[in-house]
Symmetry: C2
């Protein structure tokens, strides 16, 4: 059993898709995901100040779409490891309760005991950290898994996971996956 630290934004929540959707609703302009590659996640949008303001807007974090595959894989990780969800949310205090509610809705198998909302992740310890930002991974003493996101695609030198299947391949054995499927069938 390993202690696994999982980031929210761009890892459990598809914040890039959320930016693109909110931006299109407000400007009519559909920014292509490929246009964001290697760029600061906010500054890459033509009207970047608008996107920056999304982060302070009530309901932005509460309504973020769930990252594909995250629910299934985290459910399995939670069965065999000690999972903690750690989000650097403190810059946006309105997001604290929203992130709690979002986790409760979308990851109901987790407990509040597994949630951490902080300002800086240099206080966090564990065996693995899954995160899209080097500012978080670089202070971590355990294994670092860089979760791919348009803004970090040009970074080299880190163990990269491109999606949740990649995470499962590293942190779940075939026996765990088979057993989890059996348990799911039994539990219905």
């Amino acid at each position: 059993m390993k202690q696994i630290i999982i980031d929210m934004d761009h890892v459990m929540a598809d914040i890039t898709a959320h930016y693109i959707n909110w931006y299109k609703e407000r400007t009519g302009v559909e920014v292509d995901r490929s246009a964001l590659i290697g760029k600061n996640e906010v500054a890459a949008f033509p009207e970047s100040e608008m996107v920056r303001n999304f982060l302070y807007t009530p309901d932005f974090f509460r309504t973020a779409p769930v990252m594909e595959g995250s629910q299934q894989v985290i459910k399995q990780l939670h069965k065999y490891h000690q999972v903690f969800i750690v989000s650097a949310a403190m810059e946006f205090p309105q997001s604290l309760k929203e992130k709690y509610d979002w986790l409760e809705e979308n990851f109901p198998f987790l407990s509040w005991k597994q949630f951490v909302l902080c300002g800086d992740k240099r206080v966090i310890k564990g065996d693995y950290m899954i995160d899209d930002h080097l500012k978080n991974l670089d202070f971590f003493d355990g294994e670092k898994l860089l979760f791919s996101s348009p803004h970090n695609m040009l970074i080299e030198g880190y163990t990269r996971v491109n999606n949740w299947q990649d995470v499962a391949d590293i942190l779940l054995t075939n026996e765990m996956i088979t057993e989890a499927k059996t348990l799911d069938t039994v539990e219905g």
Copy 2:
């Protein structure tokens, strides 16, 4: 420079005094602090269910009195060390924003980057942890300082700090204290 992890309730916030005040306002009964020694902090009150409910009541955490000496000593610690405020607040999601606001009001020299609100402190690393609960200290790899509170007064075998002066004596050198006083004079 050390990384110092500081708890909020019963360490920065005088929750015992707050319980006693709120209880007196609602029942007319003044519970003496000495009657709480060695007992569970909530169960020690005659109508303990009422006190338990305080924890879920809006404004309870927002209006807690500041622990004597904590502002002065933490201000000095912040000058010479890397301070993080870590509170197990997640059981009471209404408290998340209240704790943020309380810290901003009473410890304005700290930044949101130094705040951590979590469910369980076993993910936290640092050089020192100042806390009133063994459930937090026991998972910590660094030096543990048990901050005295009525509920923990019968516990033995830990390095105990009875007040913020005791913390200063351990974590601040005479040179730091003298320099901090000089800086305060210069800063006005």
